[in-house]
Amino acid sequence: MADASSETIRSGEPIEMLLNMGPQHPSTHGVFRMVLWVDGEKIVDLEPHIGYLHRGSEKLCEGEQYHQVITLFDRMDYISNFNNELVYCQAVEKLMGLTVPERAEYVRVILCELNRIISHLLYVAAIGLDAGAMTPSLICFRARERVQTVFEAVSGARMMHNYFRVGGLKEDLPENFEDMIGELLPLLRDDVEESDKLLTFNEIFLARMKDVGTISADDALDYGLTGPCLRACGIDYDVRKAEPYSVYDRFDFDIPIGLDGDCWDRHYVRMQEMYESLRIIEQALAQMPSGPVTSSLGRRLIRPPRGDVYVRAENPRGEIGVYLVSDGTDKPYRVKVRPPSFCNLSALKHMVKGAWLADAVVILGSLDIVLGEVDR
């Protein structure tokens, strides 16, 4: 704070104050630090500081064999592990020209969509807490726990599954999977509906979220926003529809969009996406064929041919892109990840300028960032 004598304060001249938030702060969703210039309660400027969780994941990928890299992808966006594994496996498969058995594709879609739901549920829990609502977080975590129990039965781990393989899956689903998921889905739907009812149209929540952190469609595109953050601005773009990967072209689902690009629209889009994901899962379960889940490749060491490939997929947070360069050896030459949170976070500065200090927390929460992916 500038040396403000009592006269300057009384004269009513604006005084800018520098406020540090994070890196250890409960509302920064990880180790993220921002320095805010505030004039009273109004935010004048913001400087984000990232990199606290930089582990050099992309560089580490260059030192691991193709199948070992999957574990590193698990740890980038650690809330949506399956989605991350999928995009990496697809990149290697595309480079090698591999076809994945149909059953494996369906299992991947089911797990990825379940992962999308629990990732959004974590967002709902966090935004509830940010905006001052405690109860939704309890419901969301209960629901997450149920899904993670299924994930554990399938892959052996609640998180960091390491279940997808280049060309398929590690192993087939457990025998009682259908019973488990049959039991899970109605409960999950109830929990999603309950948190939706508690939060989305709640008057206090609307007051905190509506017309806060607005970004126009043009600015959103300029900053490279994707996923729910872009769709909240009214742009109907989802990789699952635009360039269907895996077996997404076989399902009937809608892309929810918002109108104004504010915090509430981002929330609404995510809420609706959970219902759409449930629709996809139900269709996928009905269509899922039996058969093998691994390609002819088996567990052999892989050496993709020389070349490069760019693959994109729709993660819960937005579009993830993987640019993979192979030099023909058993380790990738270069792996570049385009993390959705990284781009979404870069627009934070634009969104909070002129907002109230208390809204900065909500705006950051509505972007739903994962720092493991931002910093890599």
Partner: protein, 173 residues
């Protein structure tokens, strides 16, 4: 321990645009036409259309891609930097919404003088991408408003993205 059979692509095939689907081949021809003053070299990034241009033209190419109504690129989706030991290759992934497509634009800069114009004036998304490439590879982007460390801390020595950066050695913070 052998290379499995489905892999029949080789590096040489990558210059052959015949492997592209019909709409993507048309897109490549259109983009080559729009950028013809910069003499782009058409190619393929596996199944994506790709153009290679000179590094000094990069900012102008991007501006033209955004402003030309035939392309109307909306987003810079990705900027990847690859250390090829003798040169750095930069891959820009451009994205258009209507019609929906992505296009790769590549350029290379020499290893000992990695410099090229910044595209931050075209897309603000480039700001962090370029800062990251500067952090990890030491590529300098002329015209970038603020090239200070983004992922690394102030005073970090070396460029950890480069191939010759030691893998398992640590610097004291």
């Amino acid at each position: 321990m052998t290379n499995p059979s489905p892999a029949e692509h080789t590096g040489d095939e990558l210059t052959d645009t015949e492997s592209l689907s019909q709409p993507r081949r048309e897109l490549l021809a259109l983009a080559a036409e729009v950028f013809k003053e910069f003499h782009p070299k058409p190619g393929t990034l596996h199944d994506l259309p790709q153009l290679t241009v000179e590094p000094e033209d990069m900012a102008q190419v991007c501006r033209l891609a955004k402003e030309d109504p035939r392309l109307a690129v909306k987003q810079l989706l990705c900027l990847a930097c690859v250390d090829h030991q003798e040169y750095f290759e930069l891959v820009y992934i451009l994205h258009s919404l209507d019609p929906e497509w992505i296009l790769a634009v590549k350029t290379s800069v020499p290893y000992d003088a990695p410099r090229l114009p910044s595209v931050t004036s075209v897309w603000r998304a480039a700001e962090w991408y370029e800062q990251e490439a500067h952090d990890l590879f030491g590529v300098t982007f002329d015209g970038h408003p603020n090239l200070k460390p983004l992922l690394l801390y102030e005073g970090f020595e070396g460029y950890p993205g480069r191939r010759d950066f030691p893998f398992h050695e640590y610097q004291e913070f």
